[in-house]
Protein backbone atom coordinates (compact mmCIF):
# COMPACT_ATOMS: atom_id res chain seq x y z
CA UNK A 1 0.00 0.00 0.00
CA UNK A 2 1.12 3.54 -0.73
CA UNK A 3 0.33 4.93 2.72
CA UNK A 4 0.63 8.65 2.05
CA UNK A 5 -1.07 8.33 -1.32
CA UNK A 6 -4.09 6.80 0.45
CA UNK A 7 -3.99 9.43 3.18
CA UNK A 8 -4.09 12.20 0.60
CA UNK A 9 -7.17 10.70 -1.01
CA UNK A 10 -8.89 10.25 2.34
CA UNK A 11 -8.03 13.82 3.35
CA UNK A 12 -9.59 15.06 0.13
CA UNK A 13 -12.89 13.57 1.28
CA UNK A 14 -13.07 10.42 -0.80
CA UNK A 15 -14.54 7.32 0.83
CA UNK A 16 -11.57 5.11 -0.06
CA UNK A 17 -13.20 1.81 0.83
CA UNK A 18 -16.16 2.66 -1.39
CA UNK A 19 -13.80 3.71 -4.17
CA UNK A 20 -11.81 0.49 -3.80
CA UNK A 21 -14.98 -1.56 -4.10
CA UNK A 22 -15.80 0.27 -7.31
CA UNK A 23 -12.29 -0.22 -8.70
CA UNK A 24 -12.35 -3.95 -7.93
CA UNK A 25 -15.82 -4.29 -9.49
CA UNK A 26 -14.61 -2.49 -12.59
CA UNK A 27 -11.45 -4.60 -12.73
CA UNK A 28 -13.72 -7.63 -12.64
CA UNK A 29 -15.85 -6.18 -15.44
CA UNK A 30 -12.73 -5.70 -17.57
CA UNK A 31 -11.32 -9.17 -17.08
CA UNK A 32 -14.66 -10.93 -17.49
CA UNK A 33 -15.39 -8.85 -20.59
CA UNK A 34 -12.02 -9.90 -21.97
CA UNK A 35 -13.15 -13.50 -21.47
CA UNK A 36 -16.64 -13.07 -22.93
CA UNK A 37 -15.34 -11.02 -25.85
CA UNK A 38 -13.01 -13.91 -26.67
CA UNK A 39 -16.08 -16.05 -27.27
CA UNK A 40 -17.89 -13.30 -29.16
CA UNK A 41 -14.90 -12.61 -31.40
CA UNK A 42 -14.50 -16.29 -32.15
CA UNK A 43 -18.11 -16.41 -33.31
CA UNK A 44 -17.91 -13.29 -35.48
CA UNK A 45 -17.76 -15.11 -38.77
CA UNK A 46 -19.40 -14.92 -42.16
CA UNK A 47 -19.89 -11.88 -44.36
CA UNK A 48 -21.30 -9.70 -41.59
CA UNK A 49 -19.28 -11.08 -38.71
CA UNK A 50 -15.81 -10.85 -40.23
CA UNK A 51 -16.17 -7.09 -40.64
CA UNK A 52 -16.62 -6.73 -36.90
CA UNK A 53 -13.88 -9.06 -35.83
CA UNK A 54 -11.06 -6.55 -35.79
CA UNK A 55 -12.76 -3.94 -33.59
CA UNK A 56 -14.06 -6.67 -31.29
CA UNK A 57 -10.48 -7.89 -30.95
CA UNK A 58 -9.13 -4.40 -30.24
CA UNK A 59 -11.85 -3.82 -27.63
CA UNK A 60 -11.02 -7.21 -26.11
CA UNK A 61 -7.29 -6.46 -25.82
CA UNK A 62 -7.90 -2.95 -24.51
CA UNK A 63 -10.29 -4.26 -21.86
CA UNK A 64 -7.58 -6.61 -20.67
CA UNK A 65 -5.22 -3.62 -20.59
CA UNK A 66 -7.75 -1.78 -18.43
CA UNK A 67 -7.70 -4.64 -15.97
CA UNK A 68 -3.90 -4.54 -15.88
CA UNK A 69 -3.92 -0.78 -15.35
CA UNK A 70 -6.50 -0.88 -12.55
CA UNK A 71 -4.79 -3.53 -10.42
CA UNK A 72 -1.79 -1.46 -9.23
CA UNK A 73 -4.09 1.40 -8.20
CA UNK A 74 -6.23 -1.00 -6.17
CA UNK A 75 -3.19 -2.20 -4.25
CA UNK A 76 -1.70 1.30 -3.89
CA UNK A 77 -4.88 2.38 -2.11
CA UNK A 78 -4.75 -0.62 0.22
CA UNK A 79 -7.24 -2.84 -1.57
CA UNK A 80 -6.84 -6.29 -3.05
CA UNK A 81 -8.40 -8.68 -5.53
CA UNK A 82 -10.56 -11.50 -4.14
CA UNK A 83 -8.80 -14.83 -3.76
CA UNK A 84 -11.60 -16.61 -5.58
CA UNK A 85 -12.04 -16.14 -9.32
CA UNK A 86 -15.70 -17.11 -8.95
CA UNK A 87 -16.25 -14.36 -6.40
CA UNK A 88 -14.36 -11.94 -8.63
CA UNK A 89 -16.53 -12.80 -11.64
CA UNK A 90 -19.78 -12.43 -9.72
CA UNK A 91 -18.94 -8.99 -8.34
CA UNK A 92 -18.49 -7.42 -11.78
CA UNK A 93 -19.67 -3.86 -12.28
CA UNK A 94 -21.31 -4.96 -15.53
CA UNK A 95 -23.43 -7.97 -16.54
CA UNK A 96 -21.72 -10.80 -18.44
CA UNK A 97 -21.37 -10.06 -22.17
CA UNK A 98 -22.63 -13.51 -23.04
CA UNK A 99 -22.89 -14.95 -26.52
CA UNK A 100 -26.47 -14.54 -27.81
CA UNK A 101 -28.58 -17.69 -28.09
CA UNK A 102 -28.26 -17.45 -31.85
CA UNK A 103 -24.55 -16.78 -32.45
CA UNK A 104 -25.24 -16.08 -36.13
CA UNK A 105 -27.43 -13.11 -35.19
CA UNK A 106 -24.90 -10.35 -35.75
CA UNK A 107 -27.26 -7.60 -34.59
CA UNK A 108 -27.73 -9.43 -31.29
CA UNK A 109 -23.94 -9.74 -31.01
CA UNK A 110 -23.54 -6.01 -31.62
CA UNK A 111 -26.19 -5.26 -29.02
CA UNK A 112 -24.27 -7.31 -26.43
CA UNK A 113 -21.05 -5.50 -27.36
CA UNK A 114 -22.50 -1.99 -27.28
CA UNK A 115 -24.37 -2.61 -24.01
CA UNK A 116 -21.14 -3.83 -22.40
CA UNK A 117 -19.33 -0.70 -23.53
CA UNK A 118 -22.17 1.53 -22.35
CA UNK A 119 -22.05 -0.04 -18.93
CA UNK A 120 -18.31 0.67 -18.84
CA UNK A 121 -18.80 4.28 -19.95
CA UNK A 122 -21.30 4.82 -17.14
CA UNK A 123 -19.04 3.08 -14.63
CA UNK A 124 -15.92 5.12 -15.37
CA UNK A 125 -17.92 8.34 -15.55
CA UNK A 126 -19.07 7.47 -12.03
CA UNK A 127 -15.47 6.92 -10.88
CA UNK A 128 -14.39 10.19 -12.51
CA UNK A 129 -17.24 12.02 -10.80
CA UNK A 130 -16.23 10.63 -7.40
CA UNK A 131 -12.53 11.41 -7.79
CA UNK A 132 -12.32 14.62 -9.76
CA UNK A 133 -10.29 17.24 -7.96
CA UNK A 134 -9.70 14.80 -5.07
CA UNK A 135 -7.86 11.68 -6.16
CA UNK A 136 -5.81 12.83 -9.11
CA UNK A 137 -4.18 9.51 -9.95
CA UNK A 138 -7.40 7.45 -9.93
CA UNK A 139 -9.14 10.20 -11.87
CA UNK A 140 -6.37 10.23 -14.49
CA UNK A 141 -6.61 6.44 -14.83
CA UNK A 142 -10.40 6.35 -14.95
CA UNK A 143 -10.44 9.16 -17.52
CA UNK A 144 -7.92 7.32 -19.70
CA UNK A 145 -10.05 4.17 -19.58
CA UNK A 146 -13.21 6.19 -20.18
CA UNK A 147 -11.67 7.65 -23.36
CA UNK A 148 -11.11 4.16 -24.73
CA UNK A 149 -14.51 2.84 -23.65
CA UNK A 150 -16.23 5.74 -25.42
CA UNK A 151 -14.40 4.84 -28.62
CA UNK A 152 -15.41 1.19 -28.26
CA UNK A 153 -19.03 2.22 -27.79
CA UNK A 154 -18.81 4.42 -30.88
CA UNK A 155 -17.42 1.64 -33.05
CA UNK A 156 -20.20 -0.78 -32.19
CA UNK A 157 -22.89 1.91 -32.21
CA UNK A 158 -21.95 2.88 -35.76
CA UNK A 159 -22.31 -0.72 -36.90
CA UNK A 160 -25.82 -0.65 -35.46
CA UNK A 161 -26.51 2.40 -37.59
CA UNK A 162 -27.22 4.65 -34.62
CA UNK A 163 -25.41 7.57 -36.24
CA UNK A 164 -21.89 8.74 -36.97
CA UNK A 165 -19.41 9.41 -34.18
CA UNK A 166 -16.41 10.58 -36.17
CA UNK A 167 -14.25 7.70 -34.97
CA UNK A 168 -12.35 5.16 -37.00
CA UNK A 169 -10.81 1.86 -36.04
CA UNK A 170 -7.63 1.94 -34.00
CA UNK A 171 -4.48 2.77 -35.94
CA UNK A 172 -1.15 2.00 -34.38
CA UNK A 173 -0.78 0.48 -30.93
CA UNK A 174 -3.72 -0.47 -28.74
CA UNK A 175 -4.62 1.59 -25.65
CA UNK A 176 -3.42 5.04 -26.75
CA UNK A 177 -4.88 6.57 -23.57
CA UNK A 178 -4.23 3.82 -21.02
CA UNK A 179 -0.81 2.86 -22.37
CA UNK A 180 0.97 5.25 -19.99
CA UNK A 181 -0.30 3.19 -17.05
CA UNK A 182 1.06 -0.04 -18.47
CA UNK A 183 4.77 0.78 -18.26
Amino acid sequence: MAKVAREMVEKAGVNVNQLLELLVKNASAELTTYYYYTILRTNLIGLAGEGLKEIAEVARIEDRNHFEALVPRIYELGGKLPGSMVEFHDMSACPPASLPKDPTDIKAMLTVLVEAERCAVRGYTHVCNLTTGKDHRTYDLALAILNEEIEHESWFSEFLGEGPSGHFMRRGETSPFVGKFLV
Partner: protein, 84 residues
Amino acid sequence: MPARQITREELKQHDGRKGSPAYIGYRGLVYDVSESFLWMDGRHQATHLAGTDLSGELGQAPHGADLLQRFPVVGILLDPRQES
Protein backbone atom coordinates in the same frame (compact mmCIF):
# COMPACT_ATOMS: atom_id res chain seq x y z
CA MET B 1 -50.84 2.93 -12.45
CA PRO B 2 -50.09 0.51 -9.63
CA ALA B 3 -52.67 0.51 -6.84
CA ARG B 4 -50.37 -0.62 -4.05
CA GLN B 5 -49.28 2.13 -1.74
CA ILE B 6 -45.88 1.73 -0.11
CA THR B 7 -44.65 3.63 2.92
CA ARG B 8 -41.01 4.56 3.41
CA GLU B 9 -40.80 2.01 6.19
CA GLU B 10 -42.04 -0.73 3.84
CA LEU B 11 -39.60 0.43 1.21
CA LYS B 12 -36.77 0.23 3.72
CA GLN B 13 -37.59 -3.41 4.41
CA HIS B 14 -37.11 -4.30 0.73
CA ASP B 15 -33.39 -3.68 0.75
CA GLY B 16 -32.32 -6.65 -1.39
CA ARG B 17 -30.39 -8.28 1.43
CA LYS B 18 -30.82 -11.79 2.84
CA GLY B 19 -33.22 -12.82 0.10
CA SER B 20 -35.50 -9.83 0.38
CA PRO B 21 -36.60 -8.12 -2.87
CA ALA B 22 -34.73 -4.98 -3.88
CA TYR B 23 -37.05 -1.99 -4.26
CA ILE B 24 -36.06 1.57 -5.03
CA GLY B 25 -38.13 4.72 -4.96
CA TYR B 26 -38.02 7.35 -7.66
CA ARG B 27 -40.34 10.33 -8.03
CA GLY B 28 -43.30 8.78 -6.27
CA LEU B 29 -43.04 5.30 -7.75
CA VAL B 30 -41.43 2.14 -6.40
CA TYR B 31 -39.46 -0.08 -8.78
CA ASP B 32 -38.46 -3.70 -8.25
CA VAL B 33 -34.81 -4.03 -9.32
CA SER B 34 -34.31 -7.49 -7.79
CA GLU B 35 -33.62 -9.09 -11.17
CA SER B 36 -30.92 -6.64 -12.12
CA PHE B 37 -27.32 -7.86 -12.15
CA LEU B 38 -26.36 -4.32 -11.19
CA TRP B 39 -28.40 -4.43 -7.96
CA MET B 40 -27.10 -7.65 -6.45
CA ASP B 41 -27.37 -7.72 -2.66
CA GLY B 42 -29.32 -4.48 -2.83
CA ARG B 43 -26.33 -2.34 -3.74
CA HIS B 44 -25.59 -0.51 -6.97
CA GLN B 45 -22.09 0.61 -7.98
CA ALA B 46 -20.99 0.51 -4.34
CA THR B 47 -22.74 3.79 -3.65
CA HIS B 48 -26.52 3.34 -3.84
CA LEU B 49 -28.74 1.22 -1.62
CA ALA B 50 -32.03 -0.52 -2.30
CA GLY B 51 -34.81 0.19 0.15
CA THR B 52 -34.36 3.92 -0.29
CA ASP B 53 -35.83 6.77 -2.30
CA LEU B 54 -33.25 7.63 -4.96
CA SER B 55 -35.08 10.66 -6.37
CA GLY B 56 -32.28 12.95 -5.25
CA GLU B 57 -29.39 10.65 -6.13
CA LEU B 58 -30.43 9.71 -9.63
CA GLY B 59 -29.83 13.23 -10.85
CA GLN B 60 -26.13 12.74 -10.12
CA ALA B 61 -25.92 9.31 -11.80
CA PRO B 62 -24.16 8.76 -15.14
CA HIS B 63 -27.44 7.61 -16.66
CA GLY B 64 -30.97 8.87 -16.99
CA ALA B 65 -34.17 7.77 -15.32
CA ASP B 66 -35.12 6.05 -18.59
CA LEU B 67 -33.16 2.99 -17.45
CA LEU B 68 -35.79 2.48 -14.75
CA GLN B 69 -38.29 1.62 -17.46
CA ARG B 70 -36.63 -1.79 -17.66
CA PHE B 71 -38.00 -2.65 -14.22
CA PRO B 72 -41.54 -3.31 -12.99
CA VAL B 73 -43.31 -0.67 -10.96
CA VAL B 74 -44.66 -2.32 -7.82
CA GLY B 75 -46.35 0.58 -6.12
CA ILE B 76 -46.73 4.21 -5.30
CA LEU B 77 -44.36 5.64 -2.74
CA LEU B 78 -46.38 7.49 -0.14
CA ASP B 79 -45.32 10.95 0.79
CA PRO B 80 -44.42 11.05 4.51
CA ARG B 81 -47.31 13.51 5.04
CA GLN B 82 -49.76 11.03 3.50
CA GLU B 83 -48.45 8.26 5.75
CA SER B 84 -49.71 9.95 8.85
